[in-house]
Symmetry: C2
Subunit: 79 residues, 2 copies
């Protein structure tokens, strides 16, 4: 089996309202200079290890784990 | 400035109902053998680089970005 770590974030061109709220909260807590806060989804899963694991995970990301219209995804396979 | 990547996940002992739903959806899409799906939060932020950046990010995670009672967090500082 292989462990896969997927991160899904909004495309950079889109306003990340959640990120803006977290950024202002961090500033109010006294953390100066915090910038560019982006909030996304993190998915960990275990899949059977195979030669086409990258293609399979890519397909999972595009079909279910992310919305390719507004989101970007990255994944890392850990064997 | 330094780029920080934070991942927040439910503690392993807790049932991850979101993860279970995604797992069954992946199985229905035909992906056999998918296991241990855990869903969490991913936060990217830019903070001023300093010697105590790790302590500062740790504090941000414990005060705002995660709920230490039910969640674990990990972060990576990229200079």
């Amino acid at each position: 089996m292989a462990r896969v770590k997927v991160t899904v974030t909004l495309k950079p061109a889109l306003l990340d309202s959640q990120g803006k709220v977290v950024q202002s909260a961090l500033t109010q807590l006294g953390y100066e200079g915090v910038d560019g806060v982006r909030i996304g989804k993190y998915v960990e899963l275990t899949v059977p290890d195979s030669e086409n694991i990258d293609a399979q995970v890519k397909e999972m990301c595009e079909k279910l784990l992310s919305n390719p219209v507004i989101e970007d995804y990255q994944f890392e396979v850990i064997r």
